[in-house]
Amino acid sequence: MTYQQYPHPTHGYPASGESQTAPVVAGWGDDRSASWDTPTAAWTTAPSRARVERPTSGEHLLDVRDLRVEFDTRDGVARVVNGISFHVDPGETLAILGESGSGKSVTAQAVLGILDTPPAVVRGGQVLYGGEDLLTMAPERRRQVRGQEIAMVFQDALSALNPVYPVGWQITEALRSRRGIAKADAKRRAVELMDLVRIPAAAQRVDDYPHQFSGGMRQRVMIAMALAMRPKLLIADEPTTALDVTVQAQIMDLLATLRAELEMALILITHDLGVVADVADRITVMYAGRVVEQADVHTLYGAPAHPYTRGLLASVPRLERRGQGLHSISGTPPNPIAIPQGCAFHPRCPYAQQMCRITEPTLLRIGRLDRASACHFPPEALDARHA
């Protein structure tokens, strides 16, 4: 028996002059398909987007309604997200502010559909993106929305990046697998994306590995990766928490600039009241898996309505103030397995009354359309008690 050459010269290939062209070599050095790919192709070619309807005017880009997420643990059921609702409009920056354990990261993961299930269970609610519910749509369709329409930047860039692949390869992974672009084009786009996020000498560094970058540069790589498919909504989960202040300022600047340049909406998840004040348009404050206050940034800082927001703002040390004794909120955030009855904040609240221990307050609109607080007492009543 003889070995047959494969593919057999007379089989499979078209018997035309084309067969004489050089074989396609997969690799970074390949520039054969430059014809359709221009330097700005990543931004100008019509992307093969999933067919998600554009939000018609008046509709929110992302509309989360009464989302509930539970975790089954050995100690019991942890109610981490307890019916939260918020929305984001195209081009705006929404900050979700909360301390550790408030459920802010789980909310983001539920929106993207990257929760580990089990132990997590989405118990209810809707995540409407352009009118379609991400929670009930087919997995295949959801996969098209995720990454292409909604992308995420994670907190810890070092563990979110794969240490054994060059950064350029990772940045364009989605482009290669979703759009099937050639590796040479992918490399060119990786350089473009690295330029976009202001990584110096991008062309030289595209083949470097994550460990060869500093913390700030790694976070830029993460952002480039998230932007590769040019999403309409970027979710950034504590993007600067692990960074030094001077680098943090660079990254927040970059996110704000890119958001405006690319006309994205941005959801910024953070615990840092300083960062929020700098970039957010609107703020959603979370406590124990619930939304306790919603307002635009100036109103929230100028006239916080919920006692928790008030306490939080008062407990931030200020650079320009050297006061005697910081205000502090007594106690600690509740364990999600044993959330207090009634208002979850009542054990720590200086205004708490009997009704707070029994009835859970609903998120009620205060005055204007986009301003709400989940407290039994309107802000004027709290002011009066404070005085």
Partner: protein
């Protein structure tokens, strides 16, 4: 002007270089990571010295040197007149009673298999001569009370506590031997804002009650401002500016201090338009190969040829009476 009390801790030219070795069989020293490279300061009884700087500037290494958890390469450090860096193990152990440490991470710095009473009482096992005569449980209970924990917490294990409570346990342990100096290495960085304020207030109260001196290491400049009497700003293993809190925060003269202060996010959206952030380009250079002359010159917008050739000493500059290591020190107010 009041007479300054004698410093309780005096550090002179502390140096810590970590060797970089190459070669498997015959390792050869090919260089050194200059983590701390000539740091001098004084700490007086009852005061708080804030040590700030970005990651990699050597502030945590300095803390470890002072506790002698690392062996210094050179320099001297006098604690109550005794040289910490040249002391034998037995004497060192006795002297360590005067200086204790609160660690950054309350999750890994407590032994998960020990009860709170064991953790807080362990210093008494190590230093039996300092242990309370008679009832040790009583002493532990008093320590817990001092940091705001109840006697019912004594028999629980660390995992049953929240981050803020664990940090209180760490503080109780540091207090056990009645030290005069406590080194706090990022004691509130791992805590939530609302809990962070509780721990900062606790540290301030204990200082008033017990007359403690703190070396407070943090990267959060707002917290440091709040708690510190004096500040030292570090960059790449050196102190670049030092002075009272008001001098450093309100009248900074070193460009690095100015950039650092300007970058701190302000929790006030109305300040957005007013704020002028000095944007530093690039990252901190490697401490294995620091720039010649002024170490900050590679990121400095004022750098001149002189900065590359001549290292600026940390000395009083004409613009404001506090030490700053810049040839071209000038006043630039960053905080409104």
């Amino acid at each position: 002007m009041p007479v300054m009390p004698e410093p309780i801790l005096r550090v002179e030219n502390a140096v810590k270089h970590y060797p970089i070795n190459r070669g498997l069989l015959l390792p050869k020293k090919v260089g050194a990571v200059k983590a701390v490279d000539g740091v001098s300061f004084e700490l007086r009884p009852g005061e708080t010295l804030g040590l700030v700087g970005e990651s990699g500037c050597g502030k945590s290494t300095l803390a470890k040197l002072l506790m002698r958890l690392e062996t210094p390469t050179a320099g001297r450090a006098y604690l109550k007149g005794h040289d910490l860096f040249r002391m034998r193990a037995g004497d060192l152990r006795r002297l360590r009673r005067s200086m204790q440490m609160v660690m950054q991470d309350p999750y890994t710095s407590l032994n998960p298999r020990m009860t709170v009473a064991d953790i807080v009482g362990e210093p008494f096992d190590i230093h039996p001569e300092a242990a309370p005569k008679g009832n040790r449980d009583m002493a532990v209970r008093e320590l817990l009370e001092q940091v705001g924990l109840g006697p019912e917490h004594a028999n629980r294990y660390p995992h049953q506590f929240s981050g803020g409570q664990r940090q209180r346990i760490g503080i109780a342990r540091a207090l056990a031997l009645r030290p005069e100096v406590i080194i706090c290495d990022e004691p509130v960085s791992a805590l939530d804002v609302s809990v962070q304020a509780q721990v900062v207030n606790l540290l301030e109260r204990l200082q008033d009650e017990l007359g403690l001196a703190y070396i407070f290491i943090a990267h959060d400049l707002s917290v440091v401002r709040h708690i510190s009497d004096r500040i030292a700003v570090m960059y790449l293993g050196r102190i670049v500016e030092t002075g009272t809190a008001d001098q450093v925060y309100l009248r900074p003269t070193h460009p690095y201090t100015q950039a650092l202060l300007s970058a701190v996010p302000v929790p006030d959206p109305t300040a957005r338009a007013r704020r002028q952030i000095i944007r530093l380009s690039g990252d901190v250079p490697s401490p294995a190969d620091p720039p010649s002359g002024c170490r900050f010159r590679t990121r400095c917008w004022k750098a001149q040829p002189r900065c590359a050739s001549e290292e600026p000493p940390l000395s009083q500059r004409a613009v404001d009476p506090h030490p700053s290591a810049c040839h071209y020190a000038e006043l630039h107010q960053v905080i409104a």
